[in-house]
Structures are given as C-alpha cells and as structure tokens.
C-alpha cells in the first residue's frame, strides 16, 4: 500500500438539510442549505474553497449532472468541480475524492456536497435500469432480499431479528431533528407492515428521501488556524466487486466482498482494528443490510451480527453503537447525500453535539456505504483532533 491518508485531511465544517419529502425545495435549495450550513460551521465562505466534489446518483432536470450542479446554485465559478456517481457509495466516494485532492497537494480547502431529489420522480423515485431482458424485474429491496434470505437460511435468523434493527434505528432517529421518519416503531409494527420483498416488510426498508449534506475538508494546519473543533480523516477506502453477484456461482451471499475489502484498506490506513471504532454509521438500506455490515466491517464474526442486534450491542448505549443518527432506515436515504450525511453525523458525534443519542466520549467514528448490492463500498474512518 502506498502513502496513507491518515491525519492529512481535516473536516472543519459540516452541514445537513432536513431529510424527508422536500416537495417545496429544489435541488438548488438543498445544495445551498447544506453548503451554507457547512460554510458557517467552518467559518469559511465560497471564496475560500479551491475545488469541490458533488455526489448525486440520479441527475434530473433540476440538477445533479456534472459540476454545474454545484457551480450554478452556489455561484462557485472558475473552479474545478467534479461530479461523482458510484451507486449508494456516491456520497462517501465524493468525500474520499475530496480528501485525495488535499493529500495530493493540489488543493487546500475543498467542498463536498451530496444531494439527491428522489421525490420529483415517479416510480417511487427509482428508475428501472439495466439489461432489457436479463435480470428484468429486479428492485432494490428484491436484490438485497436475495442476500437476506440466503443469510437467514444459513444462520437460522427470523424476521423478528431484522425488526429489532428497525426498532433501534427508529429510536435513534426519533431523537434527531433532521430525520425523515422521526418516530419510534415497535417490533410488532415492523413485523405486521405490508410486505415489500420477502423478507422485507415496509419497515424493513429505508424510505426514498430528498436531502443534501455538505462537508468542508482542508489541510490540518489550516483547520488548526481556524480554531474550530475539527475531525481528522484516518482512512478512506473504496472497493468495487461484481455488480452482478447473482451470476457469480462462487458467491455465497453471506456478506459483501466490497465492504470487506474497503474496511480492510481503511483500517490499514488508520492503523486501527475494528474494535477501536467507537461508533459507526453503516448502510442500513434494509434491516438485514445492517446485520451483514457489522460483520463485514469486522465488528462481529460472520454469522454473529444478528446476535449482537438481539443482545442490544448496537444500541447507542451498547458496546458498538450503530447508526446513532437513525440510519438510512429512519434518517432517510437520498442516495448521493447519504454518505456525506454520515460524515456529518460522525463529526457531530466526535464533537459531542448529539444530545440524547450522543455516544459516550467517542474517539473513532466510521461511515460506510454499500451499493449495488455489494458492488461498491466506501468506508471512511474519522477521529477527533485531540
């Protein structure tokens, strides 16, 4: 492995819009709200920024395609702005690229924005894509359900365990003013909700959400001069596996290789073990996904993540709090925004600004996206400046 990213990039400002059905906001509104919040948080302005990265999965008429999606809303002209798209890892990958531009010495201060407007679209926000014949009929829940059913079959897990992930994440999300689904749910409600794609009922699925989040990254010495409570990037790694796991006869469907590879690389950069992580924002697009994630990230051995959920180890007061923000499940999942929103939560947690869902004295926080499903994963490890 070449040069590590560790301690070479600081996060000096973060911002996030309310997540939800933002029928009255434009893509431009979201970008402005998230970016201005991050600028204010950092005590910086657009003129201080050398470059920017924007993460949007689904561009449409209002924005999300190319660098102009940031340039025009923010009047940020004449600077290098790159649009990133990498399935559900879009936001974290935009952040990772921003970090690399700092490490390379090209830039001093870089803006990252993830923004997504799903609710302007028909078809529950998600278009049908893919081959005209092969795999036709796949949906996001249906694709993850293939893995969930295999996992549940192999380890004897029932829907009741999956439901406990939803109960926990909604408990956290209820305590987050920016959450999309800001309510608690009971296990019974989750189990009795309408079926979407077996084994996932409605409350096993994250919502389709509008929202944006932003972060400002810079060289650590600049962060120190600003005198703000900043976080340091310890590791940021991306891994791509097959986008067609269902055609791979060697794939056991018991975990995602992309997460495993990205986590390994990120831990190596950070010089830590999974046990050093104090909290993690992981990609709980569906309840089961959180269970495989905590295994693939090394917090629990393969086949035992579900027991950790049963034992409450992943609650805010547990041994490894998972998704204290509420996760995609409760906070919502505007695809390109989610990864940057996770960075936002991690920084807020490291600063101790999260109120009732605050994890006790965290030093290391981790953000994780996986999309595809299993095709691409990005893992970012953050630590406090102290």
């Amino acid at each position: 492995m070449s040069e590590s990213i560790r301690d070479k990039v600081a996060v000096v400002g973060v911002g996030c819009t309310k997540f939800g059905d933002l029928y009255d906001s434009t893509y431009e509104d979201q970008v402005c709200d998230a970016a201005f919040a991050a600028f204010d948080d950092a005590g910086l302005g657009p003129d201080d920024v050398d470059a920017a990265y924007v993460g949007t999965y689904l561009p449409h008429s209002q924005g999300g395609k190319a660098g102009i999606s940031l340039a025009d809303p923010l009047r940020l002209y004449g600077k290098p702005i790159t649009r990133v798209e990498n399935f559900c890892a879009t936001g974290t990958d935009a952040f990772r690229n921003a970090c690399l531009s700092i490490v390379s010495g090209q830039h001093d201060v870089v803006l990252v924005v993830g923004s997504e407007k799903l609710k302007d679209r028909p078809g529950r926000g998600i278009p049908r894509i893919g081959h005209q014949l092969l795999g036709k009929g796949n949906t996001a829940p249906g694709l993850f359900a293939l893995a969930a059913n295999r996992y549940m079959h192999e380890f004897g897990v029932t829907r009741s365990t999956l439901a406990k992930v939803a109960v926990k994440n909604h408990w956290n999300g209820k305590r987050n003013a920016l959450s999309h689904l800001r309510m608690e749910v009971t296990e019974e409600q989750v189990l009795n909700a309408p079926m979407i794609a077996w084994p996932f009922g409605l409350f096993d699925c994250c919502p389709t959400t509008d929202g944006a989040a932003a972060a400002i990254v810079c060289r650590p010495e600049i962060a120190r001069k600003l005198g703000k409570d900043y976080a340091l990037v310890k590791g940021a790694a991306l891994a791509v596996a097959t986008g067609r796991p269902y055609y791979d006869p060697t794939f056991d469907y018991l975990g995602f290789r992309s997460t495993q590879a990205a986590a390994k690389a990120a831990y190596e950069q950070a010089g830590i073990a999974p046990s050093d992580v104090d909290l993690a924002e992981v990609h709980d697009c569906f309840t089961w996904t959180e269970i495989t994630n905590v295994e693939d990230l090394g917090f629990f051995p393969k086949g035992e993540g579900w027991k950790a959920v049963e034992e409450g180890k992943t609650r805010v007061d547990g041994s490894i709090p998972i998704n204290p923000s509420g996760g995609l499940k409760s906070f919502g999942h505007p695809i390109g925004a989610s990864g940057v929103r996770m960075i936002y939560e991690c920084v807020k947690q490291l600063r101790g600004q999260c109120g009732e869902r605050q994890v006790k004295d965290p030093e290391i926080a981790l953000a994780h996206n996986v999309g595809g499903p299993g095709a691409v994963s990005c893992v970012v490890v953050l630590g406090g400046a102290s």
């Binding site: 014949l133 092969l134 293939l146 079926m195 979407i196 269902y246």
Partner: protein, 467 residues
C-alpha cells in the same frame, strides 16, 4: 417407416374451474376445468416448451425441420417457427414454416412434415402445435376453449407411429372464425355446423383413407379427431361406424377444454400411450374441409409414448383462485402492468445466442461456466479461451425473493438465483409457482416466456418454474 418418433406435451399449469365462470355470469357451465395460458404464455412460448420436451439436447443438432401450427400466433407478420427453433437451439440449417388459419392447422402441419420426410426434403421435422384462443366473456365458448401445446418429431423411423396414408377435402364453410380485426372466436350455430359440415367432411376423409388401405372401421383401434365438443365427437364415431365407448379416444375437453389445433395431436398422443404395436389409429381435423391421417402404432407405443405422460401434464396444475384472475392473466380486463421498456434490436441481435439460445461461456483454463457471456473469466481471470457453453435448463434455487414492489401482472413476483445443473448461475423471474414453492433448494426448470412488451413488440426470455 416414416412416422412419429417422439412426443412432447405442454399443458399450461393454470386451470379455470368452470364453476367460477358460471358464478361470474349466473349461468350453468359444464363440469370440469379448462387449461389457461399463464399471463406470460402464448402460442409461441407453449410451442417452445413442447419442443424442448419432444427433443432433448442430444437430438437438437439433428433436427432439420420445424413447422409451427396455431390459430393464435402472437404475430400476424413474423415467423414463429424460426423463433421456436432458435429458442430451442436447433440448427440454423433448418426448413421452417408456420401453419395457421383453422384448427385443422396442426394436422395440416403434421401431414406436411410427413410428406417432407417422405420426399427426402428433410430427415427429422418437429411439428409444434399450440393454441390459446380468445373467448368472449359470458359467451358460449368461454367455458369451452382451453390452451395447450404439443410437439411431435417426424422421422424415417416412426418408432411411435408409422404413417399409413391420408386423405383431405376442402370446401368453404363458415363455422368458427376471427377476422383481421382480432377479437374473440366467433361461431356459427354449433348444431348446424356439426350436421352439415363436420359430420359430412370427416366421415368422408376417414372413409377414403381406410378404403385406400383396405381397412374396415372395425379394425380402427382408436379414432383421434379434433372436435368442437365431446358430444359431436361421439356423433362422429357413430357416423364412421366406430364404437364411441371403445374406439373413440376420450375427449380432453372436460379436463383442459377444447384446445383447437393441438387437439387432434393430443388425442393421438393419448391413443399411442394405450396402443399396442400395429394398432390402426386415425387422426382427423376439421376446418373448411377436413383431413385424416392413418397411423399404425409402432414398437415404442404404449406407456411412455409421451413426455410427460399426458395425464401427468393434465394433473400438474394450479387452480386460478378467481374468475377475475383469469380475466387479468388473459389481458381481457385491466391494464398490463408489465413495464414498457426501451428495447434495442441491435443488442437483441448481438445477444441472440446468450439470451435466446441460452449460452454462457466456459473457461477453457479453469472450466468455470458463467453467465452472461464474458470476455474475462470470473474465476481465474483468464482473458482468452472462453468458449460459448450451452446451459442446461434445470437447476436448484440458491436464493430468492417474492417481490411485491416489482411492476408485474401478478403479485408477488418471484425472483430466483438458480444454480444450473452442469454449471452456470442465472437470475430470473419465477412463474407457474405457488409462493410457497419458491424456496431455497427447490428444483426448477427454465421455461421460455413473454417478458415485456417493450419496443411495441413482445420480448421473450427465460424464467424458472418448479420442476
């Protein structure tokens, strides 16, 4: 002797209890059920299913003719025989033709196949006959018409049945028709048509073919004749001089309905399952005239003549829970929920071997069979030596979901990851399945189905159904 050497049958799994039709319209229906093509089936897909049962993978490369017969082809313009041949991975060097126009088309195609082999124009011709004829809701034919397909292999051996002669007459008579405007089958008064055409033409051709062979009607072991209803078949037997109880092949109309062009061939299959070598069997069909073919049962006749056994095909069924489901599946009522897609005919052409003939690639370095076709091996990353590999159409479900979100005519829609026997893993929709039958470890077979109507055309691909 030129004749029939193999038979494959496809009866769609859905059954409509006629009592549900009676209940829907408040009028009496005869007892029994009719076989109903699933929403993703049509005459083309049913023909593919029948051919795959008639011709196994080892025989496929030896076939040099395929005739398709149906009154309900999904295409007015576009040859179905060549499509069926492609989907069944038959050779390109093959004689094909579509037969249509009346329910006599199945016997016409069989007759033509026999002449082709007799003449030496072809050696091994498959005749694929399928129908799913539309009936008017609350009309006289709604409880009557059923859907089915059969494929028979005609060759110089005639292991099941040897051809012994034929006769035909043709004369315009209006009994049942559909104009170029489409719509359900229209019918002239059934009794009048029976007395003045069906019972005139069929006895004439049956008498001629028996006379030519010097056979008396008492020597006919089985009369396998397509019929508009079971009673008219009985009348025909009497008119010909065959005992309806012993010499007439029992009608399938009670169990699966009147199936149209495949009907006489299904009755022939039924007769051959019970025949002794040497039995004389008369096959006949009516429609703007009539044609009769005489066969002598061969050494292979008897149980096992047909794949699967006809009764097993009839017994393999899933009852439709309501009449309304039938209306939806046959697209008589409601919108088609199958999503309309952009379709590239260029991509379709490029991927014909992969998508329609169902070939993956096999790595000559590590042996891994993989689908879809790839340049670089998934297993050993070899970047050369990947050869086309025909996939088997049987396998086991590795994992699955039942998806209520997917846009589809039926919910929930099963999606399955299937490990195929002999290698290769595919990801396909499931069909013909009760939700509980789709589970990890379940054996399935791949079946060719209509997938969606993108590009203002029907688009076909493989699905998995419980084996």
């Amino acid at each position: 002797m030129v004749g029939i050497s193999s038979i494959g049958v496809h009866v769609p799994r859905s059954r409509l209890d006629r009592a549900l039709v009676g209940k829907a319209w408040g009028r009496k229906q005869p007892p029994g059920e009719k076989a109903v093509a699933h929403f993703d089936e049509d005459a083309l897909t049913m023909a593919v299913s029948a051919v795959l049962r008639c011709v196994d993978d080892a025989q496929a490369p030896t076939i040099d003719g395929l005739f398709f017969a149906s009154t309900s082809s999904p295409y007015r313009e576009k040859q179905v025989a060549s499509f069926v041949a492609t989907a069944c991975d038959l050779p390109r060097e093959i004689l094909t033709a579509d037969f249509c126009g009346s329910v006599r088309a199945g016997v016409s195609a069989l007759s033509a196949a026999i002449r082709a082999v007799q003449s030496g124009a072809a050696k091994r011709v498959v005749v694929a006959v399928a129908d799913c004829r539309p009936a008017e809701p609350d009309g006289d034919l709604e409880g009557v018409l059923g859907d089915a397909a059969i494929a028979v292999l005609v060759d110089a051996q005639g292991r099941l049945a040897a051809f012994d002669g034929g006769a035909a007459v043709a004369e315009e008579f209006t009994f049942q028709w559909r104009t170029d405007q489409g719509g359900p089958v229209q019918s002239q008064d059934a009794r009048f048509s029976a007395t003045h055409a069906y019972l005139r033409d069929l006895p004439e051709v049956i008498g001629r073919v028996l006379n030519e062979r010097g056979l008396g009607t008492e020597q006919v072991a089985a009369l396998a004749v397509g019929h508009p209803d079971a009673r008219t078949a009985q009348d025909l037997a009497k008119a010909v001089g065959v005992d309806p109880k012993t010499g007439l092949v029992p009608s399938l109309s009670g169990a699966i309905g009147v199936t149209g062009s495949p009907d006489p061939l299904l009755l022939l299959a039924s007769a051959l399952e019970r025949a002794k070598p040497g039995d004389a069997i008369v096959v006949g069909a009516f429609g703007e005239g009539a044609e009769a073919l005489l066969f002598a049962a061969g050494e292979a006749a008897g149980p096992g003549a047909c794949r699967p056994a006809l009764q097993a095909a009839i017994d393999d069924k899933l009852p439709l829970p309501t009449y309304e489901k039938y209306l939806k599946y046959r697209r008589i009522l409601g919108q088609d929920d199958t999503p309309v897609e952009f379709v590239s005919n260029v991509a379709e052409h490029r991927e014909m071997q992969q998508d329609t003939r169902l070939y993956g690639t096999r790595c000559s370095a590590c042996g891994l069979v993989q689908y879809p076709q790839a340049r670089v091996c998934l297993g050993c990353h070899a970047r050369a030596g990947l050869e086309p590999a025909k996939l088997r159409k049987r396998g086991t479900i590795f994992t699955y979901t039942m998806d209520h979100l997917a846009a589809n005519l039926d919910h929930p829609m099963g999606m399955a990851v299937v490990d195929l026997d002999g290698g290769g893993r595919v990801y396909v929709q499931t069909t013909d399945a009760s939700p509980e039958s789709i589970r990890i470890g379940a054996p399935v077979e791949l079946t060719f189905r209509r997938l969606h109507a993108g590009g203002e055309n029907y688009n076909y691909y493989w699905k998995a159904r419980p084996a």
